[in-house]
């Protein structure tokens, strides 16, 4: 059985990467392209297949997403046909964390509930991955990654909560 793991790491400055690639900077909550940190050009950016579901869930929860692309010209998305659930890379701007910190747990909770429901009672090993990039007040970014059983994905809420409450 796969055990849950939450890991932390540095992430490139999202504002700098967006400027370099010619896409708009998110100032609220957003889903980052999976290759934002490594792409050489804006037209290489790729969304996750799960972004669409999360977009609807957030809209239904009245969470306003700050998109890097647009409905008229969405990023292409990656489709990898394995049974794991690969979630989006959620970006939390420093402005959002200072102005609407409660929104973070709602937004991540919506995702966790969806994934838990998807695999509830289903036999077999089901893993999920969800990444959250937290922007510090100085513009630096930290990445939190959950990797483990789909039904325990809610663990990332505590990890992100700890991180955001320690931003000094």
């Amino acid at each position: 059985m796969t055990s849950a793991s939450v890991t932390y790491g540095d992430y490139s400055s999202v504002a700098d990467r967006c400027d370099a690639l010619g896409v708009r900077r998110p100032t609220g909550i957003a889903m980052l392209p999976r290759n934002l940190a490594t792409a050489d050009a804006g037209d290489e950016l790729l969304a996750e297949a799960s972004d669409a579901a999360v977009r609807v869930l957030w809209r239904q929860a009245e969470i306003e997403e700050d998109r890097l692309d647009s409905p008229e010209a969405p990023f292409p998305h990656v489709s990898e046909h394995h049974a794991d659930w690969i979630g989006p890379t959620v970006f939390l701007s420093s402005a959002l964390l200072s102005e609407s910190p409660a929104l973070v747990s709602v937004a991540l909770g919506v995702i966790a509930n969806y994934v838990t429901d998807l695999f509830k009672g289903v036999p077999g090993r089901h893993t999920a991955r969800l990444q959250v990039v937290v922007e510090r007040s100085n513009g630096d970014c930290v990445q939190v990654t959950y990797n483990g059983p789909a039904t325990e994905i809610g663990e990332i809420l505590d990890a992100v909560g700890d991180l955001t409450s320690n931003d000094g």
Binding site: A49, V56, P74, H77, V78, S79, A83, G121, V122, R125
Partner: protein, 244 residues
């Protein structure tokens, strides 16, 4: 098999009640065929009876969908999937006993997918957890470990299977039930990116079927020798080297 009304949560909808009656009738005649040891003839008849239930569920579902009764449509979808799970499990046993391991594998995957659908379609599906576990246990106990292939793509255009809109722009969430159907994403334009060997694929039918070691090719399920390079040479070489 329990009803789509659920043991503690019966609903007063004619279509759901009609389907429950149909399930009870089929179970009364055919549930005895479910254990693997039963005769193939008995199991074939039972599988056909559960196939008919799938059709019945689809017909009744269309009726409740027309009224906009989402909950009953989801219950009937759950029943449809459960009937599919039973029919596929029966066909798994038949194929296994007939020695057709490739067909047995495919029926096992059908059963896993159908039961997963029953569990997801409606909360009443949780009553099927024990039955749903069977094809997953079969995979672990009766089949060897096999490798799978998975295709990675960059999807440039896709549409929601419920409404045809761009996914994310409509109100349908992948994996949830709307009008008695699971929402999904239909890819309409994509570039192939890679193929990979994976442990847990989305579709377990995409398995490695044969493996070749030292010129000997074996079926990964039966381990029977399918061909050898010597055989291949013998088949392609002329009988008389002088004629070559």
């Amino acid at each position: 098999m329990a009803s789509t009304g659920g043991s503690h949560d019966r609903v007063d909808v004619p279509e759901v009640a009609e389907f429950d009656a149909a399930i009870e009738a089929v179970n009364e005649t055919h549930a005895a065929a479910l254990p693997a040891a039963r005769s193939i003839a008995l199991q074939r008849d039972a599988a056909e009876a559960y196939d008919a239930l799938i059709q019945e569920a689809a017909r009744l579902k269309a009726s409740v969908v027309e009224r906009g009764d989402e909950d009953s449509a989801a219950r009937l979808l759950c029943g449809e999937c459960a009937a599919g799970g039973l029919a596929s499990t029966l066909r798994l046993w038949i194929a296994f006993k007939e020695g057709d391991m490739s067909a047995a594998w495919n029926r096992m995957v059908d059963a896993q997918q159908a039961w997963t659908g029953a569990l997801r379609a409606h909360s009443i599906g949780q009553q099927f957890r024990r039955l749903a576990a069977v094809p997953f246990q079969v995979e672990r106990v009766l089949f060897p470990h096999v490798g799978f292939m998975s295709v990675g793509m960059v999807v440039r255009k896709s549409e929601c299977t419920i409404c045809g809109e761009t996914p994310g722009e409509c109100d349908h969430v992948k994996g949830r039930v709307y009008a008695g159907r699971f929402a999904g994403i239909r890819v309409t334009e994509a570039d192939l990116r890679e193929t990979s060997l994976v442990d847990i694929p989305a579709d377990k039918r995409c398995r490695v079927e044969t493996i070749t070691t030292d010129g000997v090719t074996r079926d990964t399920l039966t381990w029977e020798v399918v061909s050898t390079t010597t055989d291949a040479y013998a088949e392609s070489a002329p009988d008389d080297p002088q004629e070559a």
